[in-house]
């Protein structure tokens, strides 16, 4: 096991303008989407619970940029950002929150149900840490399909996002051990935003000052990186992804980040200070990338404004589309529980999103 430096070289700085602009656009989209989501929640248009990704955008965008689009990804309940960064049309995401049939899970799940099979996004899961073994299985499936069924070298990497709170769950440790023993190409990315709900990481876990130590016992390579800078996330993540894919081994990454908002929408945030919040907001990942583009890539204020306007329009249209999508019919209660129709069950079907994709 080695704890590697975050980045050997500035790979992101060598990427073309359009790639970096896409990252900026994705982060702006997530932020705009989340701000509108919060407003809708406060106006009681969204129910269930709602966990907002504002502040952490660089982690999802930078990490997913290091993957191939077909590499499976999975996360826990703070999942809107990952879905959008993976390419889910925001209209399906918004409709899901609003409980409309057009949602990615037919509006029957809500905030923690961001599934996008066509984009290899496997959720969206509500139990902290329980997604970790699933990620091991997704990696295993890619490896098995390549090596046993297709009789060729393993080509895939799975990426599992988890919060710092998940480090204390048994499922995480079982998954890390399995990934190590079975040589599974899966990367566990801990989005360390400092707090497991209201408990600071130092109060909740051992070796909080050096979370990469968690990987040492499993013999898994570990890296810690700055999750508030999308270029740093990419710079750290790209060599790890390439190594995992090539050597068919797991990895562990800590991305140090911060959620600007509360754990959920009803969090009084008594566990931290306004000063601390302002310190992190001052190193905003969107501002940072925009600043780089302006100083290094002939990116003007007007370019920024036009991107910001485009995502505002996109989210507004997603909202309008949502308003036109009806709530699920009561019949849907007994649909998709089992594949077959028996007893009260009607069998199964696909969400509109997948029907749309199939038609394309």
């Amino acid at each position: 096991m080695t704890t590697r430096p975050a980045a050997d070289e500035n790979l992101a700085a060598k990427l073309p303008d359009e790639t970096l602009r896409k990252w900026l656009r994705d982060m702006l989209l997530i932020r705009e989407f989340e701000v509108r989501t919060m407003q809708a929640y406060q106006n009681r248009l969204i129910g269930g619970f709602c966990h907002i990704y504002v502040g952490q955008e660089a982690v999802a965008v930078g990490a997913l940029a290091a993957l191939e689009p077909t590499d499976p990804i999975i996360t826990a309940y703070r999942d809107h950002g990952h879905a959008l960064a993976r390419g889910m049309d925001p209209k399906y995401c918004m409709a899901e929150m609003f409980g409309r049939i057009g949602g990615c899970a037919k509006g029957k799940g809500g905030s923690m149900h961001m599934f996008d099979k066509p984009h290899h996004m496997y959720g969206g899961h509500g139990i902290v840490g329980a997604q970790c073994p699933l990620a091991a299985g997704l990696a295993f499936a890619r490896k098995y399909t390549d090596e046993v069924i297709e009789n060729r070298a393993s080509t895939g990497v799975a990426m599992c996002f988890l919060g710092d709170g998940a480090l204390n769950q048994g499922a995480f440790h079982e998954a890390m051990n399995l990934a190590g023993v079975l040589h599974l190409p899966v990367i566990y990315v801990v989005e360390n935003n400092g707090y497991a709900m209201g408990t600071s990481v130092a109060r909740g876990t051992t070796m909080a000052h050096e979370l990469t130590a968690k990987a040492a016992a499993y013999g898994i390579d570990a890296t810690s990186l700055d999750g508030m800078d999308v270029m740093e996330v990419y710079n750290g993540m790209k060599p790890i992804v390439d190594r995992c894919r090539r050597s068919v081994q797991p990895a562990f990454v800590e991305a140090r980040t911060y959620r600007y908002k509360g754990h959920s929408m009803s969090d009084p945030r008594k566990y931290r200070t306004k000063d601390e919040e302002q310190q992190y907001e001052a190193q905003d990942p969107i501002e940072k990338l925009a600043g780089f583009l302006m100083s290094e890539r002939k990116f003007a204020e007007a370019d920024y404004d036009s991107l910001a306007k485009a995502v505002r329009t996109q989210v507004r249209e997603a909202r309008q589309w949502t308003d036109l999508s009806p709530p699920p019919d009561i019949e849907e209660l007994y649909t998709d529980v089992y594949a077959d129709a028996w007893g009260p069950y009607h069998g199964t079907s696909l969400p509109l999103m997948m029907k749309d994709t199939q038609q394309e």
Binding site: C104, A105, F115, Y122, L134, G137, L138, V148, G170, T348
Partner: protein, 322 residues
């Protein structure tokens, strides 16, 4: 045809399915080199290799969770949990993910997983190695629960379970693993899930059971000298309500037999369904012969705890005479 034990029938079903479909992958503790704690997977490691018969660490949540991930990605994992008591560490993954994935994704992702679990008492094991937790899982929508009581059924039901598009918990009664042999066709065949088996036909009384107690019921019926219809559920969820109702209407007298404790056991659900559908046909209160509402005892007392033929016989007498 071959004369096989239940263990051999399951082993044969696994071999035939693995040869038919290379998406099938077995996982579990000691299932590979060692052939499994009950030797159910004997010879499979050698035949199919370490890639398809995977020895895992001792980590039930990880085994089941990883299998769910495999299934979500389109493979057909068949993990083994060594004893039903070890389902507790995997309960989260079964109920949080396996049972709900189709529902949570509204049909986008499915979990075609078959979780093989040795179940029940009667082999001189301690608690956590002798329990009958099927009601926990029947209570959870989204999974199917199967428990064969004979080698023939074990093979046909396991093949159906593996081919089923939804997650199935396949309970294998340990007490029957090597209890008797039966003619089992060498060719593949399936027995549909959700269909009970009428073991013996009769018109005086109905006994409903599943798993190892089915054999005890047969012994009790033989001693009673009465015309008794014995129904082996084979699948606990979906429950074959129709077969139960038809028989209860015919005989008007019902005894339900299971190993699990009585309180909130499946006997209660079955009795309730009979009340809903057969109230005016009943000639006697339904009786349940079950395990007791306490922890499964150590082996010296296990035959007191289990519904043995003698206790079943007493219930038959009481219900018939009512």
């Amino acid at each position: 045809m071959a004369n096989l034990t239940l263990v051999q029938a399951i082993n044969l079903a696994l071999i035939q399915e693995m040869e038919r479909d290379d998406r099938i992958i077995l996982l579990g503790e000691d299932i590979g080199r060692n052939g499994g704690v009950f030797r159910v997977t004997e010879g499979l490691y050698k035949r199919f290799g370490a890639e398809r018969v995977v020895d895992t660490p001792l980590a039930e949540s990880g085994i089941v969770g990883t299998s769910i991930g495999l299934a979500m990605a389109g493979l057909r994992p068949v993990p083994e949990i060594q004893f039903e008591g070890f389902l507790a560490p995997a309960f989260d993954q079964i109920c949080t993910h396996a049972a709900r994935m189709r529902s949570r994704t509204r049909g986008a992702l499915t979990v075609p997983l078959t979780l093989r679990v040795p179940v029940g008492g009667g082999i001189h094991a301690p608690e956590l190695h002798s329990d009958s937790p099927e009601a926990f899982f029947a209570h959870q929508p989204g999974i199917k629960v199967v428990m064969p009581a004979s080698p023939y059924d074990a093979k046909g039901l396991l093949i159906s379970a593996i081919r089923d598009p939804d997650p199935v918990i396949f309970f294998e009664p340990k007490r029957l693993y090597r209890a008797f042999r039966e003619e089992v066709p060498e060719d593949e065949y399936t027995i549909p899930l959700g269909k009970a088996r009428v073991v013996t036909e009769g018109d005086e009384l109905t006994i409903i059971s599943w798993g190892a107690p089915v054999v005890q019921c047969m012994n009790a019926i033989e001693s009673s000298g009465k015309s008794i219809e014995l129904i082996d559920l084979r699948t606990i969820d979906p429950l074959d309500t129709q077969t139960i109702v038809n028989s209860a209407r015919k005989t008007g007298r019902v005894v339900i037999v299971h190993e699990a404790p009585k309180n909130c056991g499946l006997g209660a659900e079955i009795a309730s369904r009979i009340m809903e559908h057969c109230f005016l046909y009943l000639e006697a209160p339904i009786q349940r012969v079950t395990g007791f509402d306490t922890t499964m005892p150590y082996y010296k007392m296990e035959l007191e705890y289990l519904p043995e033929a003698e206790r079943i016989g007493k219930a038959i007498e009481e219900v018939a005479a009512y």
